[in-house]
Amino acid sequence: MPILEFKNVSKTYDNETKALNDVSFSIEEGEFVSIIGPSGAGKSTLLRCINRLVDASSGEIVFDGQDVTQMKNKELRKVRTKTGMIFQHYNLVDRLSVIENVLHGTLGKKSTFSGMIGHYTEEEKLRAFEILESLGLADQAYKRCDELSGGQKQRVGIARAIMQQPKLILCDEPIASLDPKSSKIIMDHLADINENQKITCIVNLHQVDVAMKYSERIIGVSDGKIVYDGTPEGLDQKTIHKIYQSKTSDLITDIGGEAHE
């Protein structure tokens, strides 16, 4: 049974912008899927429909056996605890320490009050430290997040997501604001989490080469529609240009070495 299934999902913002147009696909547990496409294609909307940061206008999204589109508060909160999310701009609470931000990953499972006052159990704190250690951040645990570099912040973002013990991690352009070296570290960590912890990953990317290198499967989105769904090997120049709606040799992401048509 797939862990995630989109059935004819559409999303229209403000009754005019059609961000998703009859999207259907399904993802098996443990897959590492990249979603590529030009900006404005609807990649972020697609991810946000899964954890209901955005409400789909029509269609069904089945996650872990349940349709999320109809869920109300309590069920929705439960689904959200099972889906981690990583953002382009990290979205940490900058004035809190690294460890406090990582512990935020447990908020969804806590009572309102203990979450409010930031009361965490010793086990939770220990696990947070272990996660930070595995991401090479144990030394920074008591630093305030605004003292960190972009790459470090994104690793805190990953730690926070893992802290949730999610079934699925959604990454919305996780490396779009990072330099190549930090980008590689982040992508390696994501690949590692996917492989060793068997957490399904869906990653929005706009770097085609990164998508080809890391993922088992690539979904190409253009204008709110899926125009490619398959292996990285099957993704040829022609399809890339179709996704980005561009003419030959207009893209800087053209794969090196391959002849242009």
């Binding site: 954890n51 940061l53 909160r77 439960k78 689904v79 959200r80 605890t81 889906t83 981690g84 999310m85 953002f87 701009h89 979205n91 940490l92 609470v93 900058d94 004035r95 809190l96 935020h104 990953g105 908020l107 969804g108 499972k109 806590k110 309102t112 979450g115 409010m116 006052i117 930031g118 926070r160 949730q164 003419k247």
Partner: protein
């Protein structure tokens, strides 16, 4: 693509032509530097008419038999008594410190009550965490409260509570509440939407988001605004002591000046108030540095 081959900016054939068309000249033929706009003209006209009215007013005052030399001398004499010969004549130092403390407490009570109400209210008015409709309604209500001066609120509450410290505290609280709600909600609106979204995506609920993301991100501003309001409330409490009979140092100041005509004591009390305000100001600066 052919579009891209076109130059984006057309070069001017003859540069002086273009700049000649762009240069604006005023009525005297000189080149303008301020933009020619209706509001600029309006401001100039307003300034001019204010000057005319002022001159006219001074020329037509009914001065009666005031002897200017005498009047000025008497005023200077009073100022000298108040500011150069301050002395406690009717009260003891301890008594005066107690009165200062009373005023201080009036200010603190009003600030604390106002701050608590304002904090919860601002959560429902900040655009990024509340519905725009509810926020809009609360904000216009708050604007209405702020538009009416503190003294009026005190007098309004005096109708039911009677003139005195209770009416003063309620009135001060009311205005502080409106002021702080505006400041707090503006601070909250500065919190990065992404951060709030991230916590929501993890399953955190409203109150968890408030205390784990919004409070830590805005605490400096909340503390700074609250203390700022306390300074205002302290000076207001001095005034209310006199105007609403709320007691404290303000009342004594009023009595000394208007009842006993004891200008020496009035001067002394004025200095005490000024010192208290300066102390508060420096404490507030310290606090702001600490919570950064």
């Amino acid at each position: 693509m052919t579009d891209l081959a076109m130059p984006i900016y057309k070069k001017a054939e003859n540069p002086t032509d273009i700049s000649d068309k762009r240069i604006e000249r005023g009525w005297n033929g000189k080149i303008r530097t301020a933009p020619h706009s209706k509001s600029n003209t309006a401001i100039k006209a307003l300034m001019f008419s204010l000057v005319v009215i002022t001159v006219y007013a001074f020329l037509t005052f009914d001065y009666k038999e005031i002897d200017f030399a005498d009047a000025i001398m008497a005023t200077l004499q009073n100022i000298k008594t108040v500011f150069l010969e301050p002395r406690l004549t009717r009260d003891t130092v301890l008594g005066m410190l107690y009165q200062l403390f009373v005023t201080f407490c009036l200010g603190i009570l009003a600030t604390i009550f106002g701050a608590i109400f304002a904090f919860f209210c601002s959560l429902f008015c900040a655009r990024n965490i509340s519905s725009p409709i509810i926020g809009g309604i609360i904000k216009s209500f708050i604007a209405l409260i702020r538009a009416i001066p503190t003294v009026l609120w005190v007098l309004i509450f005096a109708v039911s509570a009677g003139l005195g410290s209770v009416a003063a505290v309620i009135g001060l609280t009311f205005h502080s509440f409106a002021y702080l709600t505006k400041m707090y909600s503006e601070a909250i609106e500065e919190v990065d939407e992404g951060t709030i979204e991230a916590l929501r995506a993890m399953g955190a609920n409203f109150w968890q988001i408030v205390f784990q993301a919004i409070v830590p991100s805005t605490i400096t501003y909340l503390v700074a605004w609250t203390f700022m309001r306390f300074e205002i409330n302290f000076t207001n409490a001095v005034a209310m002591g006199a105007a609403a009979g709320a007691g404290g140092i303000g009342f004594h100041l009023f009595m000394a000046g208007n009842f006993y005509f004891d200008l020496h004591e009035m001067g002394f009390l004025t200095y005490v108030v000024v010192i208290a305000v300066i102390v508060l100001e420096s404490v507030s600066t310290k606090i702001k540095e600490k919570v950064k």
